[in-house]
């Protein structure tokens, strides 16, 4: 089932009609194509987490429509109508380890598939597979999730969402607080899963390196408004614009800019990932075209 996500003139206000009211999303119209790897970026408080909670109807818009596959989410949509949608949209929240509660790791991972109608055995089979995917040792599976380290708990929580076998995988800063090795492993795992199962991935991140490396589509929010969307190379094309909006280039891009400044050489397209940076510099060295300026 193809499940494109389309936002049409979506507004969301927290606590409307009180002195605490706050417009968190303002007139957002954007499409997230099926099978894309979309990065959602923006300064802290720009509305990214609010945006994500609309993808499976945890929040309903104050006005506007969100179309996810066949399901339309409007201000009037009832909770009961959303069960089917929630099966297909797996959300890994910011600091998802807060959602662990079962006696054992394996039971916690199997919780969602059981809720969505899988039998006990099926759910456990999926859970074991997902535990392996996220790199949890077998001996951990029968422990209590509260005996694990922070990083291990994170993996359990992520496995618990993957076990839903969603078609749309939504990740809210999934690697925040992990060690560099764990971070890389996680990101590579998401990429592998996406390719193997043809998922649509929506990733919220402050890591521009990850945006450049993994995403093929970028949405930029600022104070609840959509200020840009496009491919990473389009978004990262204007370094000054990025700085104005509290964003940054990926490390490779910054290096390339500095390189241009120091050498006077101009890259035909600004490299955004380490790999493309290395390739361009390598071909340059072989071509022997660096002039000191």
């Amino acid at each position: 089932m193809a499940m494109a996500i389309i936002f049409k003139a979506v507004n969301y206000m927290y606590q409307p009609n009180t002195p605490f009211e706050q417009q968190a999303l303002e007139n957002i119209s954007v499409e997230i194509p099926t099978g894309s790897y979309t990065a959602l970026i923006g300064h802290t408080g720009s509305g990214k987490s609010t945006f994500l909670q609309h993808l499976n109807g945890l929040l309903r818009p104050t006005s506007g429509v969100i179309q996810v596959g066949k399901q339309a989410i409007t201000p009037e949509t009832k909770n009961k109508q959303l069960g089917e949608l929630r099966k297909h949209v797996g959300i890994v929240f910011q600091f998802p380890e807060a959602q662990l509660f079962e006696e054992t790791v394996i039971k916690d991972i199997a919780f969602a598939p059981k809720n969505f109608g899988k039998s006990e055995e099926e759910a456990e089979t999926i859970a074991r597979r997902m535990a392996q995917q996220v790199g949890l040792d077998d001996e951990l599976l029968s422990k209590s999730p509260f005996e694990l380290s922070g990083g291990q708990m994170r993996r359990v929580a992520i496995a618990g969402i993957l076990a839903m076998e969603p078609e749309i995988l939504v990740l809210d800063e999934p690697t925040a607080g992990l060690d560099p090795q764990g971070r890389l492993e996680m990101m590579e795992m998401f990429k592998r899963l996406k390719e193997e199962q043809n998922l649509t991935v929506v990733l919220v991140t402050h890591q521009m390196d990850d945006v450049a490396k993994y995403a093929d589509n970028v949405i930029v929010l600022e104070k609840g408004k959509l200020i840009a969307s496009g491919t990473p190379s389009e978004i990262f094309a204007q370094p000054n614009w990025l700085v104005e909006h509290h964003l940054a280039l990926p490390k490779a891009g910054e290096f390339a800019l500095e390189f241009e400044k120091k050498t006077g050489y101009k890259f035909s397209t600004l490299p955004l990932t380490e790999v493309s940076l290395a390739q361009q510099i390598a071909s340059l060295l072989h071509g022997g075209g660096v002039h000191h300026g």
Binding site: K80, R86, A98, Q99, L100, F101
Partner: protein
């Protein structure tokens, strides 16, 4: 979340906001006590006038007060109906088994309703215009005399301020965990009683775990910063009793006197 208004502070700059929290606390209790002296419509009218006057002086949107009543409306209606159907006296309009609808019943029902509304309005006014920590501070000061009979006043007030401080945090956390579990297919507030009870487990366990962790962190942080009991601690917020507070008390006492007068009228 965010629907609970009792205990919600709305910052502002009015006479009522600026009053000494001790005065507000005393007057709120005082008001609740004198409500029970009211026994005719004139006295209720007086109390309503006092309440509305206080609300106007606080410059808080009236909608807040209506919202404050809403969560309690079933309790209120239940009590009012009990009053109406089970008290007797005066003309009886209708009778069925133990129920009877009498003149006094109706009057009593109306009075009980007024009492509820007045108490809710006044306590909502207290919490809307006084930051929770100020209320805790004021309680501590007012309870000080109890120290003589070995009541652990500092500890009680510390517990109270910590509890108050973490109510919003806990509510946010509850909302977050509910969202996470909803995404994992839990339906809160739907299905049979058994299903609903089962749905609470994935919510309560994480809440308990995080509360215990937070309590431990807080204790460590307090010790690291040299906390060793309330004895001899100075206060960051110091309260001053001002003319406004005396005037406020005078108004309430005047109301009491008029009330006593109306009672025997």
């Amino acid at each position: 979340m965010g629907k609970v208004l009792l205990g919600r502070y709305v910052p502002g700059d009015s006479i009522v906001h600026r009053m000494d929290p001790r005065a507000k606390l005393i007057l709120s209790f005082f008001f609740i006590v004198i409500i029970f002296l009211a026994n005719n419509w004139q006295s209720y009218a007086l109390l309503f006038a006092l309440t509305i006057g206080s609300i106007l002086a606080a410059k808080v949107n009236f909608a807040f007060f209506i919202k404050g009543v809403r969560p309690l409306i079933w309790l209120i209606l239940f009590t009012v109906l009990l009053q109406i159907f089970f008290s007797s006296g005066g003309t009886v309009f209708w009778r069925w088994g133990p129920f009877n609808l009498s003149y006094y019943g109706l009057i009593n029902g109306a009075y009980v309703f007024c009492r509820f509304v007045l108490i809710i309005f006044m306590s909502t006014l207290l919490t809307l215009t006084t930051a929770p920590l100020e209320i805790a501070d004021a309680l501590e000061k007012l309870m000080m005399p109890l120290k003589k009979i070995k009541v652990p006043v500092y500890e009680i007030s510390l517990m109270l301020s910590i509890a108050l401080r973490f109510v919003p945090t806990l509510m946010d956390e509850t909302a977050k965990i509910m969202n996470a579990q909803r995404s994992r297919g839990v339906n809160f507030g739907e299905g049979s009683i058994m299903q609903q009870i089962k749905a609470v487990v994935p919510l309560l366990v994480p809440l308990f775990v995080s509360s215990f962790n937070r309590a431990e962190d807080l204790a460590t942080a307090m010790e690291a910063r040299g906390y060793r009991g309330g004895e001899g601690r100075t206060k960051y917020r110091v309260h001053y009793w001002q003319t406004g507070d005396t005037v406020g008390c005078a108004v309430f006492v005047a109301v009491l006197i008029i009330l006593l007068f109306l009672r025997h009228w």
